[in-house]
Symmetry: C2
Subunit: 405 residues, 2 copies
Amino acid sequence: MIENYVHYQLTENVEVLRLLDYETKYFEALWEIPEGIAYNSYIVKSYDSVVLVDTWKIGYGDKLVELLDKIGALDRLTHIITHHLEPDHSGSLVELIKAKPDIIVVGHPLSAKLIESQYGIRVNFKPVRDKEELKLSNLHFSFYYTPWLHWPETIVSYLHNDKVFFTCDVFGSYGAYREKLLSVLNSEERSRYFKLARKYFANVVGHYRDFVLKSLNKLLELVERSEYIAPAHGLILERDETLYMAKLYEKWAKGTDLKDFKILVIYNSMYGFIEKLINKLVESLKDTGYNISTYAFTWNKRPLISEIIGDAIDASILIVGVSTYENKTFPLVEYTIKLLVHKVGCKKTIIIGTYGWSGKTTELKNILKNLGCSEVYCYETTPSQLLDVIRQVKNLIKMEAQFSQ
Amino acid sequence: MIENYVHYQLTENVEVLRLLDYETKYFEALWEIPEGIAYNSYIVKSYDSVVLVDTWKIGYGDKLVELLDKIGALDRLTHIITHHLEPDHSGSLVELIKAKPDIIVVGHPLSAKLIESQYGIRVNFKPVRDKEELKLSNLHFSFYYTPWLHWPETIVSYLHNDKVFFTCDVFGSYGAYREKLLSVLNSEERSRYFKLARKYFANVVGHYRDFVLKSLNKLLELVERSEYIAPAHGLILERDETLYMAKLYEKWAKGTDLKDFKILVIYNSMYGFIEKLINKLVESLKDTGYNISTYAFTWNKRPLISEIIGDAIDASILIVGVSTYENKTFPLVEYTIKLLVHKVGCKKTIIIGTYGWSGKTTELKNILKNLGCSEVYCYETTPSQLLDVIRQVKNLIKMEAQFSQ
């Protein structure tokens, strides 16, 4: 039996088949997602055939085949459009090809090779060029290359008949929603949805944010022509809210919101010394009105790194409170900062270090330098002297805030 | 009110005051300890005064002072022996000095400076030399330097009167036990206790394992003379079981047990390809009788890194199954392996890599090389070809096992 899915009619020719995944705790085995995730596969019907746009996550192929059979779409299935080969969207190919060996898989030319190396199967493959049009019975598709969003061979597709824009990972979000459209959410739910979309963007697409900027105009042109924007994760969007999300994409990809000076604070505190400093510092910055987010690694706290990276993407400045641990940078902070820079790029950074035997703030500064981050300021002292640095750090932040506005 | 502690008479002159800490989830803000931890402070009574041997974790000073007062030990408290300045043992100094400003703190000469830089206080300090004896009323102590176990200024002390050997972190363990002596545990509980001691050793002392070997004879001589061995964490040991634990220390510090060929497998699997390979590999190694431990980072599994490091310390060979992630080593595996090498040293390592777009196993090999690990073998292929490497890896492991025996 197939559970945890929803099936909606979206337009005259398009249906949504969404798998709701509440079981995956770590997306890509890396990102903590207590909110769950969903995989949208779209059924596009012509008068005599069915085209499937993307599939479900690997492991659910048999269920997808069973469901397509149950709703009468399997028999007439002739084509699968695969926007890229990531196994959360291409993961049912093996079972679909097994059920219907003659299916034609449509995708970027590189995808054929990836299908073979990833799944060990050969398929009837129809490569498409950038901007190529494809008519299947009465259906009229166009394909567009959007390289590195977030796989090298990523494409998106547009169904002229119903003005539906299939965007794969672009404009997608975490969360396992049962609703069809984003527009039915109330304002609080919408706000949460956009935070999940930001987290998804930072975690999954973040490393390729420059490619987002490169493809943005192409995407926007298509959005302008569309009635529905149909991503492979999350809810289906309408034109205006997609234009709003595209503005967020631009802001996230550029890495800061100049109007909203935001401070991201990440610290570890082995025995409470740094925590005391950070608490005083955040307290003393409250009257400035800056937006401050704080994440702590302590004896009883361990934040989700997926949330930190999501929150980091539009931060103007990063404050890192870090211990020296066995003559090195505290390992969890080093791990977090390196992943943060990989995903959302360099931030203006203030490192506040504390040490017992010997200081190592410069090590983290060098790590950042090796990652290409040059604007890094260091303050380092012993636990008993830590509070002295608050005034200096506060002055530096005020100066940066002035420059940013 | 003071809760979660136990108070025992150990010998004629020595009492145990143990704080049971079930609240700390991450020891040193790093190591996951669902088993909890305890801090042993020892009250040593002469006919006219009280000496405290180590204190409780920072944050519990007021409670310790209150309790010492309640049991009538505060009034006569004249000396505190501090074996090193880590705040889980020295963390009540501020409150104790506040309650009794004339107390004399006894420790390694470097400790005075650390007390000032860490807590911002000056104390009446009595430095002791290696092997120095100290008579306080009718009490007769000796002190021994054990540098870098695991702080630079670590000392241990011996009470001649009652043949009690105070070892601070040495021979300690995780776990918040209420029992006084290790000897009261049944064999299953003892087995668990030694696993927790191994985990503690690897997590906390592991990086300084060469210093363990350097101090081991000195420690053994003292153990031979002792009736009770009184660590700062965990249960109190008697002579024979401490000699057994010292043998384990030697094995752990040397990094492998030649009689027991043990394979540690750590892998990540983003979409199940590597997991399938590792499962087949482990299955195919079962008939060899090797001891195999497996830790997986997947869509629904995230092992405790404290447990991995604990289990790694006596492994003969390490198998790492790792994805290429955005043209780099999968971040959580890189983090784990680097921390593992920092804590328990290089292992003979077999890296099995899988990639979609391009392979990067060599990156992890280079990371290991930069950490000084030279015996690293790489196998790298695409998901669909992964199973081909099993035979090769199995042959390599069998060869290594023969060499090890």
